[in-house]
């Protein structure tokens, strides 16, 4: 008899404790466990404030799939520029290439130095811009969200609640955004076929369609997901995800990495006037 009463008291105490704890975070209907609620935008539109400088901290730019460590392409750079091991960011670790595309990916990887657009300082496209090893900054307003990337001074504008279309194909795509609760959802189309997903040769066509989701999960972390669809290259859509970390240093700012000046000799050196 005493057991049951004690059990009941313990159970109700636990329930009260659980209820008290859960008040610190706001449960969102239909999304399972309670999630962090970010401070609201200064524009007073009720949306979370995702302004700030963010950066991924993984090896996705080397290879978005699981990969072992391996020798880099430049002998003299030794361990400073060989490929670290990394856990992949692809859900299921499988990129569903069509057979012709799987072969092309292998060819890309084998000719990385000649073919990777990153090496020529070309703009990285989406989603690669999110996980280049350089910070990027989000400047958020209700009608437009600007993402400025340190690499190559790349940038793109996310038009909020817009149905506008791009007149032509672009490196960074054409982005239309909306809020889904506290998640920024960005629909990106109108890519050219020139960017890669990583240094491992993963590629796409101009039919690429990316849907990104940025969700604040703590004060200094955004959870980033991107669903990738390209009927010319893949047999079905596939997904990547990773955290993006806030650069919390005092006075953090983007600096310049225009990088064009670092590749001119590489790209145009063969046309330089010969001096005797």
């Amino acid at each position: 008899m005493r057991h049951r009463i004690r059990g009941a008291i313990v159970a109700s105490a636990a329930a009260v404790a659980a209820a008290t704890f859960s008040l610190a975070v706001i449960p969102t209907a239909g999304q399972g466990p309670a999630i962090y609620k970010a401070p609201r935008s200064a524009f007073k539109d009720g949306k979370p404030d995702v302004n700030g400088i963010w950066q991924a901290n993984n090896t996705a730019n080397w290879d978005i799939q699981d990969h072992a460590a391996r020798q880099g392409p430049i002998l003299e750079l030794g361990a400073a520029f060989s490929v670290p091991a990394g856990l992949g960011v692809v859900e299921g670790n499988d990129i569903p290439y069509q057979p012709w595309a799987a072969a092309k990916k292998k060819e890309n990887a084998a000719n990385w130095l000649k073919l990777d657009p990153e090496i020529k300082c070309y703009m990285p496209g989406v989603p690669r811009a999110a996980y280049m090893p350089y910070p990027f900054q989000i400047v958020q307003t209700p009608t437009q969200i600007l993402m400025a990337y340190e690499f190559a001074s790349a940038s793109r504008t996310i038009y909020m609640n817009s149905t506008d279309e791009s007149p032509a194909d672009t490196w960074m795509g054409w982005s239309r955004g909306r809020w889904d609760g506290d998640t920024l959802v960005v629909d990106v189309t109108s890519f050219n076929d020139q960017t890669w997903f990583d240094r491992a040769g993963n590629f796409h066509s101009e039919a690429l369609h990316v849907v990104e989701r940025y969700t604040p999960v703590s004060r200094d972390v955004l959870q980033y997901e991107a669903t990738i669809e390209d009927p010319k290259v893949f047999t079905r859509p596939w997904k990547i995800s990773m955290p993006l970390y806030r650069r919390v240093e005092k006075n953090a700012q983007l600096l310049e990495y225009k990088c064009v000046e670092f590749v001119e000799e590489l790209m145009y050196g063969h046309l330089r006037k010969k001096t005797r």
Binding site: F43, M123, S153, M172, K258, E264
Partner: protein, 318 residues
């Protein structure tokens, strides 16, 4: 027009009809939700007003409405790239292509001032110091002797590194003179169409970056002074030359939203190593349709390959 009348015209810049509707002269009627003056929107600085006042105009500070209209008409006709009669082959080639590719503006500034330079009062950039002149002469010699030995001999715009529309200061050019300004309580961001540069200017009073950091666009810090955003920029590289400026250039820009359609943009150049005195120019920014489109320059720069290849071919044929 009397000089006094001209001065009155210049000073009444802020009191355009729309601004006069707000409670106080020159006060912008638009504010962000947190109370800062609102500079946001899509803006252009294209104008037919010349940067410096032509010497023939001497002290004439402004044009009459009639003179301005005539000037606009004549300038547009003279500049029309589709007019090819009478031009020699070199001049024809320099005009490059049809008028429909250009977008250089169709009006002088609304004050009808005769130059964008407003100080010194003669509307012209002050003389260079002897050191500034020496550097300018050296650059001219280099351009003549090695115009295209390698990419670094070409202007920054041709290298797809920096356009004068970005600067800073931000100057109008032949086309794509478009700027998108976004604001938060802590930053003002300016997206410049060419070359997709974004100036993100912190407003929190932090110091400039260390002198070891040198950048093509310098390093900018902003603060509100009443209704005006004041932006100071330092930390320029020594090869970002604005009209011959040195790495010690200190630029001060002022942005004031005077009415729904206009930001008064003014900049002061302080570079005693180069100019014998400070000088100031004002280039109004007016609301534009946009949108800004991606200007991916380096990615499509066939021109650099072609001009270097052309220079090598010319040398062979000499």
């Amino acid at each position: 027009m009397h000089a006094l009348a001209a001065v009155i015209v210049v000073l009444s810049l802020a009191a355009s009809p729309a601004a006069a509707q707000s409670a106080t002269k020159g006060r912008p009627s638009l504010r962000t939700p947190w109370g800062d003056p609102d500079l946001q929107g899509l803006w252009t600085n294209a104008t037919l007003t010349p940067f410096e006042r032509p010497r023939e105009l001497a002290d004439k500070q402004t044009l009459s409405a009639e003179e301005a209209a005539a000037f606009e008409k004549q300038t547009l006709q003279a500049r029309d790239a589709d007019r090819r009669e009478g031009a020699g082959a070199d001049a024809d080639l320099a005009l490059a292509y049809n008028q429909f590719w250009y977008d250089r503006g169709t009006k002088v500034v609304s004050t009808r001032r005769t130059s964008l330079v407003v100080d010194p009062p003669d509307g012209r950039v002050p003389a260079l110091t002897s050191e500034g002149q020496r550097r300018a002469d050296a650059r001219a010699v280099a351009r003549r002797s090695s115009p295209a030995d390698g990419p670094e001999d070409r202007p920054l715009a041709e290298r797809c590194i920096l356009w004068p529309t970005a600067g800073p200061p931000m100057l109008p050019s032949g086309y794509n003179n478009n700027y998108q300004i976004l604001q938060t309580p802590t930053h003002v961001a300016i997206l410049i169409e060419m070359i997709h540069d974004v100036r993100i200017i912190p407003l929190d009073g932090r110091p400039h970056a260390s002198p070891h950091i040198r950048q093509w666009l310098g390093d900018s810090r902003g603060r509100w002074e009443g209704h005006t955003l004041v932006v100071t920029t330092t930390n320029y590289r020594n090869d970002t030359s604005f009209r011959g400026s040195s790495e010690n250039l200190r630029l001060t820009e002022r942005f004031t939203r005077v009415d729904a359609e206009t930001i008064n943009y003014e900049f002061t150049v302080d570079d005693p190593a180069t100019f014998t005195k400070s000088w100031t120019a004002a280039i109004p920014m007016t609301k534009a349709e946009g949108p800004i489109f991606e200007y991916a320059c380096h990615e499509g720069n066939y021109g650099m390959t072609n001009l270097l290849s052309g220079a090598r071919a010319e040398e062979k044929n000499r």
